[in-house]
Symmetry: C2
Subunit: 182 residues, 2 copies
């Protein structure tokens, strides 16, 4: 934690939203950059099954300063229908852990992965997320990813980037690639 | 290189463009994911001074499988005017190295950071970049970042995401943050 001492007391609130690839990927890059600075990073999963082998293996190798916390393994296809209950449990569990860790002092950066999507599908309440953001200690960097970010969340953010899909390989029948998609 | 053996012979061509934050950051995340898969990653810098302490320190700690190659240190403010010559030398050197390494077999993923921007400012010729992309060995993943990606480059790509600036902190006077910007 050599670089933890910092004159910068204001952590940023960053939002990566939009329908294109690169939201979680940019959060991973941001985590890597922070980790390189000696910061302690936590990434919490709000939608089950979104993380794949590549990033989990990387986090494991980066050690305790780079923690990716899954709320359950396996992929659940639909938020609607039979998958709903599983997704609700996952998102609520993620919210509870986010509350605890955002409120604590153990991390320099916390990434709430797919939280915007979870709000959009009413797996967590917008009011709870706004409260979570407002409760952020000054020094903590908070990153919120997922499509359909609520205007109220973007309003609280310092930086918002929309990842917009211009071209997507799967539309033309290219299958998922190791190291790219997982 | 445990995971180098792969049945997937088609590497992808990915483009991250647009005026928002997250292009190089997403490339970094992609590099981390690939590295986690045991792939060998090279990131080449086309615009001098774009990389900062956080990512360079991280790459250093990740070892030889994650190589970030700078073409010169220090920041050059303007592409126009007195900075032009320095930028031209940097970009041309980067192009030469990219040609060699894209043509070689040493890497599973090569990231040409800010190459789109370099083309836009005519630091490298579009025709050279198109030739470079077309010369890619089938198994290599090629990532091209930078705003103002040429339509011809996007045409050759499998995936294109536009990072669109919705809100940017520096506009409201927030200064660069350790672990976020550098």
């Amino acid at each position: 934690m050599i670089f933890f001492m910092s004159s910068e007391t204001n952590g940023l609130i960053l939002v990566f939203t939009g329908n294109g690839k690169g939201k979680t990927t940019a959060a991973l890059g941001m985590a890597l950059r922070a980790w390189g600075q000696g910061m302690k990073v936590l990434m919490i999963q709000f939608i089950k099954g979104g993380w794949k082998y590549g990033e989990l293996k990387a986090a494991e190798q980066l050690g305790p300063g780079f923690e990716m916390r899954q709320m359950g393994e396996g992929f659940v296809k639909d938020v609607a229908g039979e998958g709903l209950e599983t997704h609700l449990v996952t998102a609520q569990k993620a919210l509870a852990e986010a509350r605890r860790d955002v409120g604590g002092a153990g991390y320099d950066m916390i990434i709430l992965d797919e939280i915007n999507y979870a709000v959009h599908y009413e797996l967590v309440e917008l009011a709870d997320v706004l409260e979570l953001i407002r409760s952020k200690p000054p020094g903590l960097h908070l990153v919120l990813t997922g499509r359909n970010a609520a205007p109220e969340v973007m309003e609280l953010a310092d930086l918002v980037t929309e990842m917009k899909e211009i071209k997507y390989p799967y539309a033309s029948g290219v299958k998922a690639r190791k190291g790219i998609e997982y």
